[in-house]
C-alpha cells in the first residue's frame, strides 16, 4: 500500500486523525444533546484507517465517481464517526458537524445518502447494510469494475438474521471485492452482547458461512493497515475483519460502559472528555 519508509509517518497521521475524529464525536453529540458516542468512538481507528490510510479510493470532489470504493456504515447509529471522517476528507464543510441532529441539517441522526455527499446508502435500521454491500459488489462484477465494497457491522448487529442471509449470499457469489469489518466492542444497549444474545463464536460463524476471517485489535492502526491489505488479497471468497474494540474508547468514563451507547455528554463531561483526548 505504501513504502515502508513512509509507513511510520502514515500510521502517526492516521492516529492523529483518529484523535480528531474522537474529538469531533464528543463535541457533535454534546452539541446535539443526543446521539451515540460509545459505538462511534469504538470505530474511530477503523474509520480513520479506511479514510486516511489510503485504503479507500474515493474522490471527495466527485463523490459519485463510478469507480470509487464503497463504504457502508451498516451500524448507522455510529453516524458521527462517518460524518467526521467525511468532513475531514473534504466531502462537505466541517461546520456542518455543528448541526448534527438539528432540524434542517443534512446530518441526520442516522446517515441519509440523499443529503450527505460521501454517504453511500442510508442506514440505521440494523442488519441491512451487508445486503446492500452484496448488491454493490455484484454490480461491480457485472460492470467489470475493480472497486471494493467495505462494510462496517456492529457486533450486536450480527444478531439480526439478515446479516447471515447476506453472509450466505456473499460467499455463494464468491464476492472477493467485499470486505466486512465487525466493530467487536462487546456491548449493546441492554448490556453485554454475550449476555443479551451471544454471537460467539463469531469467527467460526463467518468461517462456516464461507468467509476468510481475520481477528485483530481494532485500535492498532498499524495492524489494521496490514490486515486491510491482506483482506484485499483474499481471492474467491469474501473477507471479514473481526476487530476487537472498546466501546467509548479514548474517554475513560465512557470506556466499556453500555450506558454511553446512546447518551450525549453534558458540558462538564464534554470538558473532561476533551481534556483526555487532547492530552494524548
Amino acid at each position: 500500500m505504501q513504502n515502508p519508509g513512509n509507513k511510520e509517518s502514515l500510521i502517526r497521521f492516521i492516529e492523529q486523525k483518529a484523535r480528531e475524529i474522537r474529538i469531533d464525536i464528543v463535541k457533535m453529540t454534546a452539541k446535539a444533546g443526543s446521539g451515540h458516542p460509545g459505538g462511534s468512538l469504538s470505530a474511530a481507528d477503523i474509520v480513520a484507517t479506511l479514510y486516511f490510510g489510503e485504503v479507500l479510493r474515493v474522490k471527495p470532489d466527485e463523490p459519485d465517481w463510478p469507480d470509487r470504493d464503497r463504504f457502508v456504515l451498516s451500524k448507522g447509529h455510529a453516524a458521527p464517526v462517518l460524518y467526521s471522517a467525511l468532513a475531514g476528507r473534504g466531502f462537505f464543510p466541517a461546520d456542518w458537524l455543528d448541526t448534527l441532529r438539528q432540524l434542517g441539517s443534512p446530518l441526520q441522526g442516522h446517515p441519509d445518502c440523499k443529503k450527505v455527499p460521501g454517504v453511500e446508502v442510508s442506514t440505521g435500521s440494523l442488519g441491512q447494510g451487508l445486503s446492500m454491500a452484496v448488491g454493490m459488489a455484484l454490480a461491480g462484477r457485472l460492470d467489470q469494475k475493480d472497486y471494493n465494497v467495505w462494510v462496517l457491522l456492529g457486533d450486536g448487529e450480527c444478531q439480526e438474521g439478515q446479516i447471515w442471509e447476506a453472509a450466505m449470499a456473499a460467499s455463494h457469489y464468491k464476492l472477493d471485492n467485499l470486505i466486512a469489518i465487525v466493530d467487536h466492542n462487546g456491548l449493546q444497549i441492554d448490556g453485554r452482547v454475550r449476555d443479551v444474545m451471544s454471537i460467539d463464536p463469531i469467527d467460526d460463524k463467518f468461517r462456516a458461512f464461507g468467509w476468510h476471517v481475520f481477528r485483530v485489535d481494532g485500535h492498532r492502526v498499524d495492524i489494521l493497515l496490514d490486515v486491510f491489505q491482506q483482506a484485499l488479497d483474499i481471492k474467491g471468497k469474501p473477507a471479514v475483519v473481526v476487530a476487537d474494540t472498546v466501546k467509548g474508547k479514548g474517554v475513560s468514563f465512557m470506556e466499556g460502559e453500555k450506558d454511553w451507547h446512546g447518551k450525549a455528554p453534558n458540558p462538564g463531561q464534554l470538558e473532561e472528555a476533551l481534556k483526555q483526548l487532547q492530552a494524548v
Binding site: S125, M136, E165, M168, A169
Partner: protein, 358 residues
C-alpha cells in the same frame, strides 16, 4: 374496445340461440385469458434484450413469478437469493445504488409484508431505483390460503413516500406497466396475480404512470378514452377499479346500462400516484362511486379514491374489497364469489345505491 367483446358481438349477430352465443363467447374469452404474472415474465425478457442494466432477483419462486424465463436467457443478470426476501431487497438496493435497474420478485405477501422494513429503509427512503414485482397478490392465490394471500400490500406500499404503486388489470396492461416502471426513475411496486384473467385493456391505449382510463362508455373517437367526461353527461354510478376487478366492473356496467342505469368504468392501475384530475372529473359527473379491488377495504384503491374526492368534490363512495379479514383456502373462482368480486355483486351494490337515492 378489447378484442373478445368485439368478436363476441360478431358472433352474437349470427347466433340464433342465446345459449350457443354464451358458450362461444365464453370459449373465446377463456382462450384470451392470461395471468398478469405471465405477461410480467415475458416483459422482463423483452426488457433484458433492450437494456443490459436490467437485472432480476427472485427468492426461490422464479417458476411461479415467471422470472425463470429471464433467468434462462440472461443467467449472469439473474440472482436467485434463495428463501431470503429481506436480503433480496437489500441486494436489489445495492445493485440500484451502483447503476443497475433491478426487478425483485416474490409473492406479494413476502415482498410487501415480510420485507417491509427492507423496502422502507433500503429502497424507499434512499429512493433507489428498484422495481418490486410482487406476484400472487390477493385472494386469487387460491388454495394456499390466508398465509399467502396479501390483502394489505397496496396499503403498505402506498404509505411509503416516493413509492409508485401499479396494479395492472390484464396481460396487456401488465406489459405496458412493466415498461413504464423500467423507464421511471425511482422505486415501483407492481402487483401481479396468479390467476388467469380476461383481456380488458384496450389495444389502442398506452399506459402512463399517474393516469387512469375510462373504459366504459367506449370512446366515440378511437383512443379518446376520457373524452366522455367532457360531454356533460351524468352517470348514476362510476366504478373505479384496478387489477382483476376491472373485468367484472365492466360486466356490471354493461348489465346496469341495460337496466337503464348509466354507468362509467375507470381503471386505476396507477394507484399511486393516482389520477386526481380524472377522479375529480368522475366525481363531478357521477352521483356515486363504487371502488373495486382485490385488497382490504382499508388503505387500498378505495381509500386512495376517497382521499381525492373528500379533498376536492365529496361524493358517496362504496368501497368494495375484502372486509378487514384474512382470506382462506379455496379455488380462485370460489374465493372470487365468496368475497363478492363479481359483476353480480357489483350490480347489486350499485342497484341498492341507486334505489336508495330515489
Amino acid at each position: 374496445m378489447d378484442q373478445p367483446f368485439e368478436r363476441s358481438k360478431r358472433f352474437r349477430s349470427r347466433a340464433c340461440h342465446a345459449n350457443i352465443h354464451i358458450s362461444i363467447e365464453k370459449v373465446i374469452r377463456m382462450s384470451q385469458m392470461k395471468a398478469t404474472r405471465d405477461a410480467y415474465g415475458e416483459a422482463l425478457v423483452e426488457l433484458g434484450r433492450q437494456n443490459p442494466d436490467i437485472v432480476v432477483l427472485d427468492a426461490d419462486l422464479s417458476s411461479s413469478t415467471r422470472t425463470s424465463a429471464f433467468a434462462q436467457e440472461f443467467p449472469e443478470r439473474f440472482f436467485n437469493v434463495g428463501i431470503a426476501e429481506a436480503n433480496m431487497m437489500g441486494i436489489a438496493a445495492g445493485l440500484a445504488h451502483s447503476g443497475k435497474i433491478p426487478f425483485a420478485s416474490t409473492f406479494a405477501v413476502f415482498a410487501a409484508g415480510r420485507a417491509y422494513d427492507q423496502v422502507r429503509q433500503s429502497i424507499a427512503y434512499p429512493r433507489f431505483n428498484v422495481k418490486i414485482a410482487a406476484s400472487h397478490a390477493g385472494i386469487t392465490v387460491g388454495e394456499d390460503g390466508a398465509t399467502h394471500q396479501a390483502l394489505e400490500d397496496i396499503a403498505l406500499m402506498r404509505a411509503l413516500p416516493g413509492m409508485t404503486v401499479l396494479v395492472p388489470s390484464d396481460a396487456r396492461q401488465t406489459r405496458l406497466a412493466v415498461m413504464a416502471a423500467a423507464s421511471h426513475d425511482g422505486p415501483v411496486y407492481i402487483r401481479l396475480g396468479r390467476a388467469k384473467v380476461p383481456q380488458v385493456y384496450p389495444e389502442d391505449a398506452g399506459f402512463q404512470i399517474g393516469k387512469g382510463l375510462v373504459l366504459w362508455p367506449e370512446p366515440e373517437v378511437p383512443g379518446q378514452f376520457n373524452a366522455v367526461l367532457e360531454e356533460g353527461r351524468v352517470f348514476d354510478m362510476a366504478f373505479v377499479a384496478c387489477g382483476i376487478t376491472v373485468a367484472p366492473a365492466l360486466e356490471a356496467a354493461r348489465a346496469l346500462e341495460k337496466e337503464g342505469i348509466p354507468c362509467l368504468v375507470a381503471e386505476m392501475a396507477s394507484v399511486k400516484p393516482i389520477d386526481e384530475d380524472l377522479l375529480v372529473k368522475i366525481a363531478k359527473r357521477s352521483k356515486a362511486i363504487v371502488t373495486c379491488e382485490e385488497h382490504s377495504v382499508i388503505g387500498g384503491l378505495g381509500s386512495a379514491v376517497c382521499e381525492v374526492t373528500a379533498r376536492n368534490h365529496p361524493v358517496p363512495v362504496a368501497i368494495l374489497g375484502i372486509n378487514d379479514e384474512f382470506g382462506e383456502s379455496g379455488s380462485a373462482e370460489a374465493l372470487i364469489k365468496h368475497y363478492g368480486l363479481t359483476s353480480e355483486h357489483y350490480c347489486e351494490v350499485a342497484r341498492k345505491i341507486v334505489s336508495g337515492r330515489q
